[in-house]
Amino acid sequence: MAVIKTTNLTRKFGDLTAVDNLNIEIPEGEIFGLVGPDGAGKTTTMRLLTGILDPTAGEGWVYGRHIVKEAETLKDNIAYMSQRFGLYEDLTVIENINFYADIYCVPDSERAAKIEKLLGFSNLTPFKERLAGRLSGGMKQKLGLACALIHTPKVLFLDEPTNGVDPVSRRDFWRILHNLLKEKVTIFYSTSYLDEAERCKRVGLIHKGRLLRCDTPEEIKKETGTKSLEEAFVSIIGEYESAKSV
């Protein structure tokens, strides 16, 4: 069964079609990368799938819940870490996590064990009394992830989570994601960095709201005769644009 499924999912803003007849199916435990230029529709797609924004047409389901009709219960099963994930800089690491635990009504009986696990897995245990505002970029991002995971979501949406994060911190971040995949969490990951997309099991290339390709990085490179996803990406978009101008 697909954990994420959409049929002709479409969202318009006035004359602009931000997401245009999107059809995707993502199985449980997969990490799926959504890549595309700025303004291609990546963030709008995320917002549709997380029940924040209603589609103009089409339908979608996430973990068996309809993204419009069951938008509220949908949120019990998912976590969404946006580009500007809200951490409170004047609260400590542990206070931030407790705050999110309250929002998600995590019962007291489960809380201590969960927090300990999340701190351990993000290597933040030694920093739990530090103010969030005093963490490095990479540590803030790991704290954001720990907060997003406090209610043990089944599906994790990450919108360009590693912008401006250095390679060493990025490796740590990916290690955490792999541990989540082992627990069968499904991850929907948007990025504009294609070396990062190479790590995803499958990649969807979105441009002007349309899904132009959706396959494993290896197949996409093979089919376009390119060595990197970056070359493949430029070639596919170039082809689309020239076909349209004819």
């Binding site: 490095s136 250095d166 911190s169 995949l181 790590r199």
Partner: protein, 321 residues
């Protein structure tokens, strides 16, 4: 504005450059040289000393000790002259959102004290180079990230500097925009402009002629992208294909000689001390488990592999006290 240095063939040269803040050494006696017309990458994790170094080179911060020249000007004494002769663009772009494209260019022309004639000429050149002819009367706020980035670059080079410093110029910009940006940068370098660039993105560092990796205030690696991947990188990278790759990560990582294993889509990249010994031990593990359908191949390391390996090596040799 175009006078070249008569003192030095190098565009940037520093020797034993040091900056301390109280008891903390941000930059620990580093030495390097950047040639004229070179694209030089300055890489390192957050807090490694990148920004402190750039600020010393741009005449914004006085070094604690050491010596250096930028465009022939002494970084200890001629800081005002340095500022007039270099271009600087940061990831924050420093554009006025509530001014139009033309007004931003005009504002920077004023700062760089261009004459009326120079201003008119440079305005057209910069707008054309950035490809923003259609937006000249638009508020900067309304531009996409890529256009803003090119406008910011244009504003940083209005006074035709011979050296430009780019501090994480493409953070959060998409691949097509980045490719366009880099073609402008390469064209500038082709005309003899020296480009000093910091970035976190290793695919971007591939565009540099040479690069240096700074960590804990110390230079730990330097070379061309090719040298970084061959001479500097002591470990080998093996690409492992096996059905159910996800299930194998932990097992491979626990094998002797395997330092690291990470999933790349449907394959596993492992870091091993030696390709031959590493593949023998991985293949033995597969055979023992009765797996037949596998392959293990040595691949070229990426710059990211080199970056992470060099840092791990440094930490091992310099354990924290």
């Amino acid at each position: 504005m175009n006078q070249q240095s008569q003192y030095s063939e190098a565009a940037v040269k520093v020797e034993n450059l040091e900056k301390t803040f109280g008891a903390f050494t941000a930059v620990n006696r580093i030495s390097f040289e950047v040639k004229k017309g070179e694209i030089f990458g300055f890489l390192g994790p957050n807090g490694a000393g990148k920004s402190t170094t750039i600020r010393m080179l741009c005449g914004l911060l006085t070094p604690t000790s050491g010596a250096g020249t930028v465009g022939g000007f002494n970084i200890m004494k001629d800081q005002e002259l340095i500022k007039q002769h270099i271009g600087y663009m940061s990831q924050k772009f420093s554009l006025y959102d509530d001014l139009t494209v033309e007004e931003n260019i005009e504002f920077y022309s004023g700062i760089y004290r261009l004459s009326k004639k120079e201003k008119e000429e440079r305005m057209e050149e910069v707008i054309k180079q950035a490809g923003i002819e259609d937006f000249r009367k638009n508020l900067t706020r309304a531009l996409s990230g890529g256009w803003k980035q090119r406008l910011a670059l244009g504003c940083a080079i209005l006074h035709k500097p011979n050296i430009i410093f780019l501090d994480e110029p493409t953070s959060g910009v998409d691949p097509i925009t980045r490719a366009n940006f880099w073609s402008i940068i390469k064209e500038m370098a082709g005309r003899g402009v020296t480009v000093f660039v910091t970035t976190h993105y290793m695919d971007e560092a591939e565009n540099c002629d040479r690069m240096t990796l700074i960590y804990k205030g110390t230079i730990i690696a330097m070379g061309t992208p090719e040298e970084m991947k061959t001479d500097i990188m002591k470990d080998d990278i093996l690409e492992v294909r096996v059905p159910g790759a996800d299930e194998w990560i932990d097992k491979l990582e626990s094998l002797p000689g395997v330092k690291d294993a990470a999933l790349f889509s449907t394959t596993i990249h492992t870091v091993v001390e030696n390709a031959k010994i590493g593949s023998a031990s991985i293949e033995a593990a597969f055979k023992m488990a009765g797996v037949k359908d596998y392959s293990v191949n040595k691949i070229r390391p990426s710059l990211e592999d080199v970056f992470v390996s060099s840092i791990e090596k440094y930490d091992k040799e310099h354990p924290a006290k």
